[in-house]
């Protein structure tokens, strides 16, 4: 069962749950004040949104909530954790992923379909994925900032780096590869009606875990 973590201001929990179903799995809700993940959790997704209104720094306040201790224990035990957009910001702020997400180079919100390059095929999330994925971005603070020499950059925007990420990074994993954060929204690319199904693979990985 894939736990979908929800904070006040989380927006994409329903879409993430639908994507998990589309990938053949079952979603279960996890609330920010819970101190344990739901019984039977095999993988975790932290969906997008504006937890706590993005106040102070995106993800900062959410990253200090009780559920994140449980997510940390799950990750330390090798469990899969996928952070999408605000979820990526939360994971960075929680120290589960390296770096931090900063304001876009455009200093504005950007909602746009993107072609992503899969740079690292050797994580549980990206094994077997095609080399490029069509998935939209939609964020205001999506420029990853960190040390590209030591971080494991898994997904990239390629030469068109609209947000101004260091090393054009779109998705970053921890060294073990079981925690992945990405700014693009795979839950918006799981249905031909939405224009792409390229996001399904990431959810399939969670369901397999």
């Amino acid at each position: 069962m894939v736990a979908v973590v929800r904070f006040p201001g989380t927006l994409d929990h329903d879409s993430a749950a639908r994507a998990i179903h589309a990938a053949g799995g079952t979603a279960i809700a996890a609330w920010h004040q819970d101190t344990e993940l739901p019984a039977g959790t095999t993988a975790v997704v932290i969906p997008g949104g504006f937890s706590y209104g993005d106040h102070l720094r995106p993800g900062a306040i959410a990253s200090r909530s009780p559920i994140m201790d449980a997510v940390r224990r799950h990750a330390d035990a090798g469990g899969l954790v996928l952070g999408i957009c605000n979820g990526f910001q939360v994971l960075c702020e929680a120290g589960l992923l390296p770096g931090v997400l900063r304001t876009n180079a455009t200093t504005s919100f950007v909602c746009r379909q993107m072609t992503l390059e899969v740079i690292d095929h050797d994580t549980p999330f990206t094994r077997g994925l095609t080399d490029t994925l069509s998935i939209p971005i939609k964020n205001h603070d999506g420029a990853w900032f960190g040390d590209p020499a030591t971080a494991r950059i898994v997904l990239g925007y390629g030469p068109d780096n609209p947000l101004g990420s260091v090393a054009s990074a779109a998705g970053v994993a921890n060294h073990a590869g079981n925690v992945l954060g990405l700014m693009p929204h795979p839950e918006e690319a799981v249905d031909p009606l939405l224009g792409s199904v390229d996001g399904l693979g990431l959810f399939a990985a969670l369901v397999r875990a």
Binding site: Y52, I61, R64
Partner: protein
């Protein structure tokens, strides 16, 4: 070259959602006795020119602060 520090804070009485969110978060983290939090901006400018205070004043009025909802103050460092 003068370093000018502009401080922009939400006006008294104007809603400060950021401050409220931070206050709530500090409470949840177990910090007791936080009775108010207000969040504003600090802008450090390096200015070259004859009257940096007057320049900063005009910058605040035209861009850096929103007089309808924010107050600003200007300090010169040397």
């Amino acid at each position: 070259m003068t370093r000018v520090v502009v401080t922009v804070m939400p006006r008294e009485g104007v809603l400060d959602p950021q401050g409220q969110a931070v206050q709530g978060a500090l409470g949840r983290l177990g910090f007791a006795g936080v009775t108010d939090v207000r969040l504003g901006r600090r802008i450090e400018l390096e200015l070259d020119g004859p009257d940096p205070r007057a320049a900063a004043q005009e910058m605040c009025e035209r861009l850096l602060a929103n007089a309808l909802i924010e107050d600003f103050s200007i300090d010169l460092e040397d």
